[in-house]
């Protein structure tokens, strides 16, 4: 009396909210588009070349690692493309092709795949790559030197260099509106304030990033910079300047909240974000590096597993 029909049998639940990994990656690619578009407008074809090479080589390294480790080919989930784009967004448009290749290799192999691929990387792969490269070939990442042959309609000194070496008095050209409109030099996709904020809000609305991390990071930067500024206004730039320059915004929405390397519990997310913000300002104002975002991200990635142990007591948990 068995029926002949072949029904699908599986475990509950039988509904799913429809989210998936690829949707998340492509959503982040989309969110980065406005900032990248302005980068292309500013830097022209060299920027397009860097972006194209970065994305395609990142995809190639992912494919190669999948083959070598005999795992499913995961190129289609969009994560490699996203990391490739993020890498291009952080570097100058004049970066030589071999530096891009080396960078995406470090990012995909050392940053991601030796840990087991997506979801397992303890650090943001892109940040790992940029940090290693800037230690090895720092000259290519000095925006003032790298972009010296461009003729911009705005002040072409890297804002953070100006603030660090010349003091706040030299920052008159960098009005808040200019910074928001991307009228500053920097990474290909890291300078357009409005674009990055819009993209970030999109990511938050779609739940592609954890908003607690992004907002607490910005809050940390604001508060720390405010303290410095109030203590010595002629020595340290104001908080809004720090929010809109360097890698702050790209870090807040694309680097710091990266799923695998950031906490998921409520309190840890806030500590993680605020600490990264404060660290960034400490490095910028006191440390030797011009920008502190990448180092702050790496350091907070490092303590993330420890932070995430702070968690609410589960239902019915005794003691």
């Amino acid at each position: 009396m068995r029926s002949e029909k072949m029904f699908i049998v599986s475990h509950a639940p039988f509904w799913h909210n429809g989210s998936n990994v690829a949707e998340r990656q492509f959503g982040m690619l989309l969110a980065a588009m406005p900032a990248v578009a302005l980068g292309i407008v500013h830097y022209g074809m060299p920027a397009v070349a860097v972006i194209a090479l970065s994305i395609s080589s990142a995809i190639f390294w992912e494919w190669l690692m999948n083959r070598l480790t005999k795992r499913t080919i995961t190129v289609a989930d969009g994560n490699a493309a996203l990391l490739g784009l993020l890498f291009a967004m952080l570097i100058p448009a004049t970066t030589p092709w071999w530096v891009v290749l080396a960078g995406t290799f470090i990012m995909m192999v050392i940053g991601k795949h030796i840990y087991g691929g997506i979801g397992s990387n303890p650090f943001h792969p892109t940040v790992v790559a940029i940090m290693i490269l800037s230690v090895s070939w720092g000259a290519f990442f000095d925006f003032n030197g790298a972009l010296v042959n461009y003729d911009f309609s705005f002040n072409a000194i890297y804002p953070l260099t100006a603030s660090k070496n010349l003091g706040p008095a030299a920052l008159n050209d960098f009005s808040t509106l200019n910074l928001l409109m991307g009228r500053q030099v920097g990474g290909i996709g890291a300078t357009f304030g409005f674009g990055l904020i819009g993209g970030g809000l999109y990511l938050i609305a779609k739940r592609y990033i954890r908003w607690e991390i992004a907002l607490s990071f910005l809050l940390g930067i604001f508060l720390a910079a405010l303290v410095f500024h109030l203590a010595a206004p002629d020595k340290y730039a104001g908080p809004v300047f720090h929010l809109l320059t360097g890698y702050t915004l790209v870090g807040a929405f694309f680097l710091l909240p990266e799923d695998s390397s950031s906490p998921v519990n409520p309190l840890p997310m806030l500590i993680y974000g605020v600490s990264a913000g404060v660290l960034t300002i400490l490095i910028r104002n006191i440390g030797v590096y011009t920008d502190g975002v990448l180092l702050a991200v790496l350091l907070m990635n490092l303590v993330n597993p420890l932070l995430d142990k702070i968690r609410p007591k589960a239902l019915g948990k005794v003691g």
């Binding site: 029904f7 599986s10 639940p13 039988f14 087991g116 519990n265 589960a314 019915g316 948990k317």
Partner: protein, 427 residues
Amino acid sequence: MMNNAFSRSATTALHYELLHQTPLGPQHVSSSKTATLLIEEKLERQSQLALKVGDTVQAGQKITPFTDRPSYTIASVTGTVAAIRPMPGDFGKHLTAIDITLAGAEETAEGPGEMTPTMTTLSEWLAGAPGKPPLHLFQSSEHGIHTLVVAGVDADLLVATNQFVIKSEMHAVNRGIDILKEATGVKRIAIAVPRDLVQGFGHTGADELKAISSAYPAASPKLIIYEAFGQEIPAGKTCEELGFAFFSAEAVASIGKAFDTGRVPFEKVVTLVDKQGRKTMVSARIGTPVADVLAAHGITTGDMDRLILGGPMTGSAIYDDQMPIQADTDAILVQDAGDVSLVSDYPCINCGECVRACPARIQVNMLVRFLEAGQYEDGADLYDLYSCVDCGLCSFVCVAQIPIFQYIKLAKYELSRLTAAEASDAQ
């Protein structure tokens, strides 16, 4: 499905639906040719059977198929026994199925007749009544039940059976409550109903009325105790260990009806949800094949469809549409092949959606890493496996589509086997 970025909980997207008016129905469905009764006993080659193929049974007759075991069922149809066969259940359970071929004319057996409200009478006749009253909780003194909760809410989404029963059969429910009070001696009886419908319950036989939130999974027993009674069930403990017994409204109504009529009821109310999501309240005798219910409502099924007994979050999928309606089958859900959601073997990407969704505040992202590796004990010790209330929301929101809920159920099952083995070794 709506996502609300700023809410701590993704569960705001999932709400129980309310039956605002007493709906029409239930629409009765009869078995066409056969009925199958299930008994929770293992059928073995050497089992001593009091029933054999070819025996005739009458509707309402009490059948105790094993000579050496007290398990019984009440025949819901009149006919001849066509087969007695073993049937595998979920998670290693063994059942015995009795197939009955329907006779042309219905003869009804004499029921228990006039009954006295004692636990003995109740457990002699009503353990398998529609709604499946958990009478065993009162048989051993180990539990010490002090509160009996009559659930006029359904724990899973889409299911409306108990809401329906408590609205349309309030008289029987009240009668059942009176009988249970007398038989069990429990001092405190509470009725749990959806918060928005609470005004409709002026006079009940219960001592208290508890309003249950409409946000899934507020109607699951552990959360009812947590939110409505303000008690937290310690991880790994059951509701009955804390002295709470949950009776579905239908189970209580069955008891009331049995005492009113002198017969054990066998009509089960079932929420039938078709492929378009349309909901019908159906009543069918226990033992009626699911296929008969679907046929009576013009629902056709095909390969790769999914047939689910119970709701979409916690029900169980069946492989055979000849599976019978059982005393606790509150819903039949039919999913078209195109709507079937599947799981993947993708790794956890640590997005944190499950942590936001979990009503038990479990750090699911870490738990699932241990469970995937088969480290069930570590999962229980370090990441609160036993706090889980089995709602399935983690799987529902999982971006990587990991079958988290299945891992959790498997882990609990494996650990219970381990504990059982250790206990028997110790003896």
